[in-house]
Subunit: 504 residues, 2 copies
């Protein structure tokens, strides 16, 4: 849970902050002894004056909810006195009842990032979202209306766990031109690719099992693998994708149960695995009989260069489980993704899907089916492939203009992201408040790393921000980097670096 | 996977049967040694002539896929010769890689039931679906159009894992008149109540933990609890709901981690827990600090008698986790349910929800929000409460007329189901093919039992079938019971009873 400020409200900002912190203390989310973020930092993240935070903290202190300790900062006080009058005391000690499987910490750095990113005055490069102004909203209005008019009763009903049969067929045909040969029964429709990852992890991993993942990689996958109790085997990524040679070196010793890769326009680095490495990865997987999840949300968004076949098209041994989604090529709101793979896996996943949520919204499935089979998705993709390169070029030009010498960056051939590195050992987490103060947000790279690496890296998304905001956003970011450099030169950096894991 | 026949196809029915069995043998779903159902039984279930099944089996036998054994029936042959030419051999021994968590057998009895139920010539009392002809389709067309017109960009976007904030608020207000006091932050929107159950089970149960469940109960809950490795403690249900006294007797000894109950218009029995038992159950849960999941999909559908407050309204100790859905009171296709409960649980579940599928379709959430806040849901419920009692009365009158003496049944005060018992020790699973032959389907009660009980029971749904189909459907069912009785009197019953767990 984040602190969200409603700037249109008549409730003063300091009261909003105090009330939200109070709720989180009452609920037990902030346990006694938790250190609240320093006033300056919270003010920067929220985009408010420091006095506002000071007043909020004073109010909470007056109520006995927090206490200031010299040298330890502001700490959440003993909660036994916190039950509001009228609230029945809970008979259940909830935190003691939760299973370890759900004991996944929210990443405070990401919470900061999302919070900054949601401020209306901030230009955000932090998201993984497509351009909302390109959503085919008028077409979708027509399609949904047509669907309910023609088949409302059946499309508002339950539907097979495996997916709406015509959509399974449409997806199998739609991916066939990339060389992937799947029939309708080899395709499972899921409620977004996150659910696909979850089902795959549940079906194939037990606590203690090892998963080879790229480092860095999609953080939703890291969360899924951690939630099922798997151990992560990080394999670094370079400009040709996962360093398969390093995996070859350790596979016999570590025996991973699963290999997870985003080979094409990778999230977060934007790099694409070379054909040679793809073939070596498949040979390795076949030799050791390790399934490979190929996560491919961005593959259709190539802006330059020759396309390389997906792993699923090169696979001669049935080792690849292909995962994709319409969230990046259409929009995320329908929650439609799919898995294509060997039929025994699809059938097993369908049983699990039924247990997890019965089925996927059939109306949304119908709309995606119609969008694909009427050729609208291919036309939409052409439109995206015309618009996104302009945004990418603007971002690269702005980086060139403003950030040369203080940032290094990649030039992706497709997808959503430019990957950057701070020079001189600066940390992206220290850059975040400086950037927030100047009205720009980015995704800190360390959150995408399964290990402690990547502290100097950041991910910049170029598809979501308005095209005219890209240059000023990069200018603000470069300013923030310069500010961080001068803070460090003045010796403030080392003090700030000791502030570990602020909660808000 | 079921055998589904397309009667409009030019492919002969026997070929359709053979091809589908062939696919299931190739995929490994039907492993070598699996006994196929006897020809007569499969013919009855599919609604085809016995010759059709004989021809299908002959074709598979000619291909070496199945073999006939005297005394053992028809058996799936060795699979090593089954790879079709052109299909790459899989490098992965999939069945050996699946985790035990997913090792949930499809219930063959239910598969039979669903199969019969889906035949166009069959009157089905087997489903748990609301009347499709009462879906407010025109209103939903308008709402979805309005939503996309006004806020398309944000409603096709990602949304908070906890749910669309206005819907959380609307749900909290909408359930308040029943005496449940929850704020918006105490409500989690989920993709249908099945997902709610799954998240609760994952958050609160580890393998080996004990869950007290009603016997019989909702079978999707049994599947969830089994999938997370829990052990079930069945507590019988009588006309006043769960026999709480029996739970009181064993709770100290068995120490359940969770109590799961459907106290109002229970699925499958239709019974409602008395107020006295509700209070005893809550006292017991508070004393032993055991959370109670109150599953309440049908509570708003009372047709007679005084309403009894939900457990969540009577709860003084914060032990109840209230679960409900719009699937039964509106329609299932939007996949919208919710959990209301103590905030630490809601926050923990939100983290898990994010891992499982990120968020719930925001457009569907908006539509449900608008439907509730504009008073349309209350109006719709009044309409359902006018229509459904007529269907219930028709069913009860038809039972009176046709089934007196061969069936016993309940008279529910609300909900979707009439619960029946066969007299003279007949088994519902033996009734199914007789009913299928006569064009009527029901849900066998034993599937809802966590133990081996209930073989003589059946669940009849009165909301889904067209109102004019209810009387003829019950007449067919009574005929089937009479036929089963005469088969048994002729000594065939004991032979049939030896056919255990047919796969199809």
């Amino acid at each position: 849970m984040l602190i969200e400020l409603d700037r249109t409200s008549t409730v003063p900002l300091y009261r909003q902050i105090a009330e939200q912190l109070r709720a989180r203390i009452s609920s037990g989310e902030l346990v006694p002894g938790t250190r609240l973020p320093p006033e300056r930092r919270l003010a920067a993240v929220l985009g408010v004056n420091r006095t506002t935070v000071v007043n909020a903290y004073r109010e909470l202190a007056a109520d006995g909810l927090i206490v200031g300790h010299v040298g330890r900062g502001t700490i959440v006080a003993d909660p036994s006195r916190l039950h509001e009058p009228g609230t029945p005391a809970s008979g259940i000690p909830w935190p003691q009842l939760f299973t370890p499987a759900t004991d996944v910490m929210n990443d405070p750095l990401l919470q900061d990032t999302m919070l900054v990113s949601s401020r209306p005055d901030v230009i955000t490069f932090a998201t993984g979202m497509p351009a909302p102004e390109l959503y085919p909203i008028a077409t979708m209005r027509q399609l949904l209306d047509e669907a309910l008019h023609q088949a409302g009763q059946s499309l508002l009903q339950y539907c097979p766990a495996e997916g709406y049969p015509p959509l399974r067929e449409a997806l199998a045909s739609w991916i066939a031109p990339s060389g992937m040969r799947f029939g309708p029964d080899d395709v499972l429709v899921v409620a977004g690719s996150q659910q696909g990852l979850y089902l795959l992890a549940r079906a194939l991993l037990e606590p203690g099992d090892i998963v080879a993942v790229e480092s860095p990689t999609y953080l939703g996958a890291l969360q899924v693998f951690r939630a099922v109790g798997a151990r992560l085997l990080p394999i670094p990524v370079d400009q040709h994708g996962m360093r398969v040679g390093l995996l070859e070196d350790v596979v016999a010793r570590r025996r991973p149960k699963l290999i997870y890769t985003l080979p094409t326009f990778q999230n977060p680095t934007g790099t694409t695995m070379s054909r040679d490495r793809r073939e070596r990865l498949l040979a390795l997987a076949a030799r050791y009989q390790v399934p490979v999840i190929e996560d491919d949300p961005y593959g259709a968004l190539r802006y330059a260069g020759e396309s390389i076949p997906p792993l699923a098209a090169l696979d001669q041994h049935g080792v690849v489980l292909y995962l994709s989604t319409v969230s990046k090529i259409l929009f995320p709101g329908f929650r439609i993704g799919w898995i294509a793979g060997p039929r025994p896996v699809i059938e097993r996943l369908a049983i699990l899907k039924q247990i997890v949520d019965l089925d996927t919204n059939p109306l949304a499935q119908w709309a995606v089916w119609a969008f694909i089979t009427r050729g609208l998705l291919d036309a939409h993709l052409e439109r995206l492939r015309r618009h996104y390169p302009e945004r990418l070029e603007r971002m690269l030009a702005a980086l060139e203009r403003y950030a040369t010498g203080v940032l290094e960056w990649t030039r992706p051939a497709g997808g959503f992201y430019v990957w950057c590195r701070l020079t001189d050992g600066l940390r992206a987490r220290d850059l975040l408040p400086e950037a927030a103060r100047r009205g720009v947000a980015f995704a800190p790279g360390e959150s995408f790393h399964p290990d402690d690496a990547g502290t100097g890296t950041l991910r910049l998304n170029f598809t979501f921000p308005p095209v005219t905001a890209i240059e000023p956003g990069i200018a603000r970011l470069a300013e923030a980097v310069q500010a961080l450099r001068s803070i460090r030169l003045n010796g403030e950096g080392s003090r700030r670096a000791r502030v570990v894991a602020p909660i808000v």
